[in-house]
Symmetry: C2
Subunit: 804 residues, 2 copies
Amino acid sequence: MKINQFAYVPTTHDQIVTELTDIRFLTARTSKIADPVMLFRQFLLKFYLEKQGLSTRVQKVSNLMATPELNAYEYTTSQESVTKLAFYNVGLQLLGFEVGLDFTLDEPLATMKKLKLPIADVPTTLDRNHLIDAWYKLLNTRTKFGQTLIDFLAGQGYYHQFNDDDSLKRPLIFNGKSQAVFDTDKLIHEVVYVEAPLDNDHDGKRDLLKAEITRPAETNNGLKVPVVFTASPYDQGTNDKQADALTHKVNKPLTRKVPNDLTYDDVKAPAAPTNLPNPRSAKGTTEVAEETFVKTWTYSLNDYFLARGFAVVISSGVGTKDSDGVRTTGTRDETISATSIIEWLHGDRQAFTNRHDQVAISAWWSNGNVGMTGRSYLGTLSTAAAMTGVSGLKTAIVEAGISNYYDYYRENGLVVAPGGFQGEDTDVLGELTFSREQSAADYLKIKDTWLEQLKKLTSGQDRKSGSYNSFWDARNLLKDVNIKADMLLIHGLNDWNVKLSHVYNLRNRLKKEAITQKLILHQGQHEYLNNFRSVDYTDIVNLWLTNKLLAVQNDANKVIPDVLVQDNAAAETWTTYKDWGTDATVKKISLADDRFTDLNENTSFTDQLPDDLFKHYTTNTDKWQHDLFTKDHSKMDKHCIKLVSEPLSQDIIVDGQAKISLRGSTSANVGLLSVALVDYGKAKRLTAVPQVLAPQQILTSYHWRKDDLKEFLPTKKASAFKKFTDSHMNMQNRTNNYKADELQPNQRYTFDMAFQPTFWRLLAGHQLGIVIYATDMDYTIRGNQDITYTIDLGASSIEIPVLK
Amino acid sequence: MKINQFAYVPTTHDQIVTELTDIRFLTARTSKIADPVMLFRQFLLKFYLEKQGLSTRVQKVSNLMATPELNAYEYTTSQESVTKLAFYNVGLQLLGFEVGLDFTLDEPLATMKKLKLPIADVPTTLDRNHLIDAWYKLLNTRTKFGQTLIDFLAGQGYYHQFNDDDSLKRPLIFNGKSQAVFDTDKLIHEVVYVEAPLDNDHDGKRDLLKAEITRPAETNNGLKVPVVFTASPYDQGTNDKQADALTHKVNKPLTRKVPNDLTYDDVKAPAAPTNLPNPRSAKGTTEVAEETFVKTWTYSLNDYFLARGFAVVISSGVGTKDSDGVRTTGTRDETISATSIIEWLHGDRQAFTNRHDQVAISAWWSNGNVGMTGRSYLGTLSTAAAMTGVSGLKTAIVEAGISNYYDYYRENGLVVAPGGFQGEDTDVLGELTFSREQSAADYLKIKDTWLEQLKKLTSGQDRKSGSYNSFWDARNLLKDVNIKADMLLIHGLNDWNVKLSHVYNLRNRLKKEAITQKLILHQGQHEYLNNFRSVDYTDIVNLWLTNKLLAVQNDANKVIPDVLVQDNAAAETWTTYKDWGTDATVKKISLADDRFTDLNENTSFTDQLPDDLFKHYTTNTDKWQHDLFTKDHSKMDKHCIKLVSEPLSQDIIVDGQAKISLRGSTSANVGLLSVALVDYGKAKRLTAVPQVLAPQQILTSYHWRKDDLKEFLPTKKASAFKKFTDSHMNMQNRTNNYKADELQPNQRYTFDMAFQPTFWRLLAGHQLGIVIYATDMDYTIRGNQDITYTIDLGASSIEIPVLK
């Protein structure tokens, strides 16, 4: 077990005294206690909530051991000083660690170092000021169960004690982070319909978009609060079965493209139409919404902020249930769906209480500062909104967001699926999220328009060619950048759904802009990160949003690391870096270098498999992947080129984007190339899907949302290898992804392919594998065509960015 | 998808009018509306909550289609009558079914029949009374997401609208079930310490047991409420690592027992000691508790009842954190831990506000009626408490409870583990639940006593012999029966942890008693059942507890089926029966009958495996089980006798307890026999672990506990076979489980073995398999001894109880 903290703000003693006074550990009474032993006793008694009887609290303090002989109550009633040892013996127990199981009473500090818990810089015997400093740091230390101690205490009802006390600050800031002092029993849930500057369904009226607001009751007494906004096309429901039915068949041959000489201007998206109906006139105004709502699924990070003085707004956008318009899968219309809500929250756009009466309602309770959250499509919309420079959006927290739809559904002129979703495309995703279909009467009105739109998606995405075109250009979020928001980017190094190129390209593009950006790379695939034991992600986000949306000067930009990476080869290990992909040394090596062994002595391979084996692999792609990558003999031996390096003499980190240049040919007039980089070496690798360590263990506030505590843990059995990056290319797109090149059978060309960016530690003793193949069962279309590929290894080379 | 309902209470029209008035669908205003069309409109508008604006509600009604042309608002403002078709078109949408996806507007009734949804007995055109009856039935019909429509509405805030209206009945009964009219935001959480008539740690003082109470705020205004009580030894924490460390090694040889002539009197448990310290005297009394608590994990069924006017009490018993005593794993001390709490709730025992001050507090808010809930150990304690006849306990709902600890850890003189827990025993479970160890200072006080007790468990359980003895006799809950509580028993037909003999023997024993008992057998292993789509388990429990604890005459005993069984061969199919295991015809067949094929022509087999194979199987028991049962050649061919019947000409149900009589010998002076009955036939069988259909979809009340909707669904790939029952025996225990018989090498004896009771449908075309083997990797100790077993098939026979 390792607990890592990156959101602790160094704080002066004077400031500590102020803050402990604010949260009521220091009071008129305790301020008068000069004796550190007595003050320690008072802190401990307060820890067990003053609303409980004194006997109860004494009993609870008495359950803690301070030394091997004395319990904490005995200690604080019999000793003359507080030792650092006794303080942390008690402290570790408060943090949930068990004597005997997790640590021993004779060396708490050794355990704390091992667990990576922060230790206050105090001498072996604590005076009053030391005690105050150490107590402050302890309250800001993470427990065994993934929360800071003060957040744990909030869950136990610490702040709830002061619910009726108007003199408690609200919001209340402690160590730079907003505290859970808002009563979640009294949250207000209301719906408004924001009028977007869109007429996406061409009915001559601007589109009304439903927004669901949850805000603290304190706003009704004049408090203005910031907003955590999630744009989620999934939120109003999804059409799973209908989308499944639309999923494309992928067992299809690769077909030849007629060579062309297209330039970017030929595939550039046309400017958006500017004709727009006039806004509706308001027939009245009100401050009181008339519709309410109840949620089933909610994002626990958003819920966490509801207890901390933020409102949460969720909106699904055009084409979703109770809103106007149709889905467009990634265009400007969906971006404007998100920015319209922000504009309303910032006072720049009108909304109505319902879809009919045109009674306007403003976001009078909003302080005008908005931060976006959410993963995947949700994160994508955060990026898209941020790129517009919309006023009010101070930050976007982008978890596994798409930055270019072409890179999500295509790669180098090939149809390449998001991992796990073979056959999905923009039309499938459009159908999935077109939740207006779930309101029977509403659907009847829009059905024809929608079916027309669906046809446009299907033809525009052009699965036949796989090339970049104006359809995709309209879905490239990196094209038009006018950003003002600071960005917190989070991505999984094992995310094969939204692959690493999205965050890599976004981050590199943002480097040109005058904003602050931070990056967290974890070992998950497509996961949320706010409930892990080994990293204080939630605290980082709290520090970030308290800074960006509450405008508290908490040094967030300085305290939060620029790049934080979870190690793939050691569990629960997080390291800070200055950058990603720029500090490495690029090593260029010929594929014929004798440090590589060509396992099956192949320099050419046929893609076609026996029918039954092909069929078996299409439904058992795990088995296919195993046979493709294994160093043992397998049925894929003749269908790939497998190069394996010598065992590494020391650890290396592949940092950024590796590249490969292949000189080779196809036996047909079509062809595709796939290359994977493989980490060979027996190891208990981390699971990319987190495991639940303790269900419902995280209390985000008092009698409020619970969450499971999770972690990426090593598998119980060792595995022999793991692919850590790959690349795919249509051989006709060796120039770029829109120009179709000539491809003559058996003629040699050079194919320069970039891998998915990564941050991967290869351990000493492991071997680097380069596996060259064609059809990728998990990602590409699968024609099982009779094509032979030949590679001139001597004329081919790989470039690896290595960080030592 | 199939929705099954067993808790609907047939209700007269007059009663329907009363109840719809009680829940405010019929009001002073709507009572005056004579026109069924207008009344239908009012019902629909009320469905969308009166606290919302009329425009909003009209919009929502307008989103529903009543006919292929008219939406529900248009329909109710333009038509002259309500047709049954239109009613159910709208009704199905209210229930969450989608037009187009789940049903079509021209035949809603056909869909309802297919889904097994109840249809009101009304003509094709509804008059006012028909409409009222149909609306009532619709509100009591289950939605697509596993709740009745009225419960769904409660989750949306329907009853919350009346929170400030004192004239609403509380509790409020609708169709025999208590409604979610209590404000869960205002629940009171408090702790008391009940003084049990025990001095289990021999410190000269009666043991104080912590009890955690959650009760509706209305109790503070004089409302007396019934109690749902869960006795959970796990609730205060578990010592997982310490228990793991105690787990016994099972790769050990079977050793010979010295033959004896023990009778039951020799192994009978001694009477409990009667010396007991006096109760503490109360130094004062109060009605106000002084300690509070916060939960992480809670049981969603209990939470459901908190919104419905029940208090929930949880207590962990002797040896758990904040209580006195030590764990005893299944003895009377743990039973008394549970009954003490019930006695306090019934006014028959004292409790204190804390462990020190002796200030007494009564359960003044309790109506004295208690029902117990919980699964596994928790269900076991419910059974144990019920068997004492303790006053106040009106019912126990026993989910997968143990009825005899010997049958949990042993079988016929053999150490046989609970499935998934090889090497566990009473000492391991004792250590696991001894949560006092988690309070460092408290543990220091009790450590020596506990280590002494742990030794007693280890020696008493006697893993060496595996025989029944006085230790186990003290843990047989079926021995002393003085029951007054009605019993609702629930068990999984695939539960290999707490096996089927527990519920079968309990139920048969209870048949002799003057109580009502009901049984539900589902297809899970060790699962809770309160959040499934295909069965209204939660509603059944509501009907049951409303009857038993609120004393409402709701015909629960009549309405709830005596035996309800989920089919193993058809998904989401539940059938009612009169009894279990008595209506079948017993078919006795010789094992040499030519309808059986002896697959490997074995009549004897060696148990010993090659070392590497043995080692492989011990860590891959799935693989072992596959090789043992497969009809294909495998490495187990020589290590078992595999008899397979002819394909069945029709479906048969094995109903109850099959038996086998084996005539055979061992080559050594020790031996064990295992027999499994296997269902052979390619089929997509149900998963014994439920799948989540919709996370967080169930709202148990307004802004209260959410739960995942689950179901046992068929696997995606077909499997070739499945074991459905088994039996194990130490050959020295052929007489009974305490007498050790002589066992001569190569001498023939008869071994009469009873299988785990079951209720299993074998489909026509499937084959019944009888697999005879020795070491069971999953359950028995594994000595890999060089022993050959020989069976005289002609002198052996099987008896199968068959229900056609």
